[in-house]
Symmetry: C2
Subunit: 346 residues, 2 copies
Amino acid sequence: MLRPTVHDVARVANVSLSTVDRVLNGRDGVRAATRERVRAAMRELGYERDIMAANLSRKRVYKVHFTLPEGSNSFMRNLAEEVRAQAREAARDRTRISISTVPPFDGRALAADLRRLRDAAPEAVPDGVVVVATDAAEVRQAVSELRGAGIEVITLVSDLPASARSRFVGIDNVSAGRTAAGLLGRFCRGQKGRIAIVAGSMLLRDHVERRLGFEQVMHAEFAHLAPMPPIEGRDAADEVERRVSEALEARPDITGIYSLGGGNGGLQRALLRVSPTPRPMVVAHELTEQSRHALQDGVFDAVLHQDIGHEVRSALDILRALIDATPVEAGRGLIRTEIFLRDNLP
Amino acid sequence: MLRPTVHDVARVANVSLSTVDRVLNGRDGVRAATRERVRAAMRELGYERDIMAANLSRKRVYKVHFTLPEGSNSFMRNLAEEVRAQAREAARDRTRISISTVPPFDGRALAADLRRLRDAAPEAVPDGVVVVATDAAEVRQAVSELRGAGIEVITLVSDLPASARSRFVGIDNVSAGRTAAGLLGRFCRGQKGRIAIVAGSMLLRDHVERRLGFEQVMHAEFAHLAPMPPIEGRDAADEVERRVSEALEARPDITGIYSLGGGNGGLQRALLRVSPTPRPMVVAHELTEQSRHALQDGVFDAVLHQDIGHEVRSALDILRALIDATPVEAGRGLIRTEIFLRDNLP
DNA sequence: AGGTTTTTGATGTACGTTAATCAAAATTCA
DNA sequence: TGAATTTTGATTAACGTACATCAAAAACCT
């Protein structure tokens, strides 16, 4: 009825506690036949080691390090804030979190930071690393070295494909772009017109993937709407404001806008200033104070959002599971993109 | 550096381990002055009891009972399936789950089931109960009695307001209705026309709340669209098919459809059969095999969804926290309504 | 067969907490 | 002041696992 323990396994397998322990923890000095007997007993009883008791016993502390891009934009600042918040809570779960920041978009600096972790004093080497990856060969190399040293690596928010990272935690940006198109296309149904794309995202990879998904669906399903070449706002509100204003004045047939990066404050100001009629439908990314107000005021129609708190929690859960060599579901880590209208703001 | 333990607290407070234990577990026989000294030491050290060690020691098993409406519709069947799945996993977390089912919409039967739990043999009395509530006075009374017996009660999916339940876990149905209106209104922008509402929900309360939210937003923001009186489909696909077909034939100006309950298969068939042009925009609830296909085929435009797995997990987490008298955030339990288009299907 | 090596068993301690027992000290009351 | 009572301390054994040590048994060599 109750969960079986190592004692039960020992009894059923007809071996001593020590032998069960040796099998369980992969120590050597056990004949293959005996090992198999123990394994069979475990299967028969449905034994699962009690991780809490195990961690208590081995006084395990999960040492986790986060390497984040330093204050490049408000999304990253939020992320850092969230990690700090989780760090406090995580102490409860035997998890000690350290954080370092590196210049954004600088593959070399990021790689150097990761190497530093591996080469630290033994007691300071983390069991796992969470990194917002910059897509560069040096980084791939550094990740591979960490894994070689037995350190689990999770990429957060922005993935590093074709690398040795253990897992990716974040949203599917292609799907996010497709979703934006699905919404905007339906919002602009039955109208001919142009769609402005405001780019200049926080991370090159996200930018590209979102735009890819967006144009896929626009072409396939909403051919009457013509996406324009992206307006590069460089994530800076002033820049976005200036360039979007120009575009709106030059092209009165802009019927929809997809903003896939930062600088939403500028977009909002441009829309208020030029106020074209009928107002274009707007889909943007990331729920912030700015975009929340834009939704409430009816300037934005929808905001696609990734819940960073959820992402950080998820990364920690998965990391602990990886460190314990506990099975972790494949789908875990694929964070869903949330859709907010003014009507379902949290 | 490391987490402080009871030993550290004892040392700092200058008392014995026994006294710390007595304070920690609310046993009596401690003078108020001493108790305060111990509390001060805990605060000073930032002591937090190690729940895992504590549970190990007191061999705690969380006994949780789920009372669900029996096979009333596919949503409830999914829910039951999900609970059974979680029951297997929950064993890992020292949680033993039992399940009972009662006839749907029958407040008396539900109340009787809840009373049975309280009056069971002491070792069978659960520490917490999760119930899909039917809104009735007897149920409120039974919940209140459970709480009086020290049993935590969580309402799942459908709440029991003005009752003694400890928490509610589920979506905000008013907000879901508002969101549906926000989407459908934008999908039907610039068109005059009627909006058909297909009702007959699984639970009266959800039905009412969703419709309320929907009409709120429709009136306020999309006055050019006129919601029709609801088509009562009684959650049965055949009934829905018949009545929606009739409505579509009778009123060619139906430009949007909001289906807030079950029977989506019937809705889909009606739309394919009558195939009005231009096709009406459709927003429905709950992602199932049926509605997924309808999205993929472009018959439905959006589906609002509650993630039952998430809800069940959330209920268990909160319940354990309540049983441990651990603080639990206020916002926890408010499950977000997810929005799916064909472009972001999981 | 004897010796060597490998495999297994027995035992104890630890992790941080709960919980019980019994003795010692402090406090209250007559 | 002495007895009765309350409060505190000291000690011990769990919970399920990890890990170390030493001895015993079994298997492997020549």
